[in-house]
């Protein structure tokens, strides 16, 4: 069973507002991923970290999101100025080495 913790489970924001969500990876998992699942159930990779360093991110994330994984603190993903199209389920996953990824329960964001 996954031990990845995500908070909050639900988040409601107005357009233009910041939206911040957090993730605590499984203990001992240095690699953290963020994915977005939109209303059409399509998954999109957003960004991943190894320890505190960004490994890979997509263009959208680089321009509109702020993400970090500080040591001894939860990882976070923040949309700087929410848009209606950002309404989605945001999933955090962690893994150890090259093993399979384990997912948290997700944060469901609604942008009004």
């Amino acid at each position: 069973n996954s031990k990845v913790i995500q908070t909050p489970r639900y988040l409601v924001k107005g357009q233009g507002q910041k939206a911040k969500m957090r993730c605590i990876p499984e203990k001992g998992h240095p690699v953290v991923f963020w994915y977005q699942q939109n209303k059409n159930n399509e998954f999109k990779f957003l960004i991943n970290f190894q320890n505190q360093e960004v490994l890979q991110q997509i263009d959208m994330t680089e321009k509109r999101f702020s993400a970090e994984c500080p040591s001894n603190s939860p990882c976070s993903l923040e949309i700087q100025s929410s848009e209606a199209g950002d309404s989605a389920l945001y999933l955090c996953a962690s893994r150890q080495g090259r093993a399979e990824q384990f997912f948290g329960p997700g944060t469901r964001l609604t942008v009004l």
């Binding site: 996954s2 991923f33 994915y35 699942q37 159930n41 399509e42 998954f43 990779f45 991943n48 890979q56 389920l89 999933l91 996953a93 399979e100 990824q101 384990f102 997912f103 329960p105 997700g106 469901r108």
Partner: protein, 106 residues
């Protein structure tokens, strides 16, 4: 880019029937995984199967790497099996299929 195609998009069965889900992927997978997503959204890894056949409980996955296809067989389905089954190609970041929505009727 990498693609993962799943079929059927949806499947409705009576409890006790077997379910067969298919997945085709566009390049040789370093790791091919099947996930279950509950109606609430939580993702659970079911099987990691880059090649060959693997079993766990009532689930059997067969992956033929050179043909770029994988299947997931659920035997003696139960109503609690209802949900979305996702075929995922793992090349570091995960590439998800569109999923098969499975509904098991009592």
């Amino acid at each position: 880019g990498q693609q993962v195609q799943q079929s059927p998009a949806s499947l409705v069965l009576q409890e006790g029937e077997n379910a067969e889900l298919q997945c085709n992927f566009s390049s040789t997978a370093t790791q091919l995984q099947w996930f279950y997503q509950s109606p609430g959204g939580s993702l659970v890894s079911l099987l990691s199967n880059p090649s060959g056949t693997k079993h766990t409980g009532r689930l059997t996955s067969t992956t033929v790497t050179k043909e770029r296809r994988s299947s997931l067989h659920i035997s003696s389905s139960q109503t609690t099996d209802s949900g979305t089954y996702l075929c995922v190609h793992n090349q570091g970041k995960l590439i998800f299929g569109q999923g098969t929505k499975l509904s098991i009727k009592p």
